[in-house]
Amino acid sequence: MKTTVRTVGQVSVVDLSGKITIGEGDVVLRDKVVELLDGGHSKILLSLEKVSYMDSAGIGELVACFKKAREKGGTVKLLKPSGKVEDLLQLTKLWEVFEIFDEEAPAVASF
């Protein structure tokens, strides 16, 4: 999985691409979010549009990122999950936990 970070206003938008799976994408995601939080960037929007799928480890890392941000007074929100990622968020009922947006502008404005 690859990540690129853009800053839009006070929000760090993390564009993720590839898959978030055990031993690969999950570690990349965790490291990136921790790096942002440690750097004082507490408003994080994870863009999932180009994530093809996740496994249970990847789902667990999304939850870990959410909790870690909350511990540090920050927020993690999700942008444009689609296909299998959307299915998995609904299946696991995490759809009800995360704030999820279809468009970037309202997502950024929501922080």
């Binding site: 799976t21 249970s56 667990g60 939850v63 870990a64 299915d87 609904q90 299946l91 009922k93």
Partner: protein
């Protein structure tokens, strides 16, 4: 009945091999005639079974193995995953979609497995570890890579959310 196209793998107990099994499962699902999205469902379900075997069954013990058998027929696929662990009661695993479990960072593997294939059966083999069998059958007929004939395109894709409702969410 036509004989099954078969792949058998014996894995070192290493998480980095999960992708290889996932790829094999998707290939075999394609051979069974599943469309791309359903083949990915099979791949993800098998991935979860193998992760469970390596992490929870064999408890990351490098001296243990995981055996995977993949059996594709023109309309169905069956996958058997065996570990060498002490076993567990699948029915007793907590519901990951309930209450405080919702915020746990693990425990969703069986839920995902059950959502993405038609059936998941757990059997403890006394002294030899757990065996998990996953099955998925196409509900319609379409072109199969094994027989090369063209049929209609109805498939058995089952929305994950609907599957979760069917399963009652009682897994870890």
């Amino acid at each position: 009945m036509a004989s099954a196209t078969t792949v058998k793998l014996v894995l070192s107990n290493e998480v980095r091999l999960v992708d290889a099994v996932h790829a094999a499962a998707e290939t075999m699902a394609g051979i069974a005639g599943f469309e791309e999205d359903d083949a990915l469902n099979v791949g993800i379900a098998v991935r979860e079974a193998v992760i469970n075997a390596i992490v929870h069954g064999n408890r990351m013990d490098p001296s243990r193995k995981v055996e995977v058998g993949l059996f594709a027929r023109p309309r169905s696929i069956r996958v058997r995953v065996r570990d060498q662990g002490a076993g567990f009661d699948a029915a007793a695993t907590p519901d990951p979609t309930s209450g405080d479990n919702l915020m746990r960072t693990s425990g969703r593997g069986i839920l995902v497995m059950r959502a993405f294939v038609d059936s998941v059966d757990f059997k403890f083999r006394e002294g030899r570890g757990m065996e998990v069998t996953l099955k998925k059958t196409r509900s319609g007929r379409r072109k199969s890579r094994t027989d090369g004939q063209t049929h209609d395109q109805t498939t058995s894709s089952k929305p994950a959310a609907a599957a979760a409702a069917d399963n009652g969410g009682s897994e870890r």
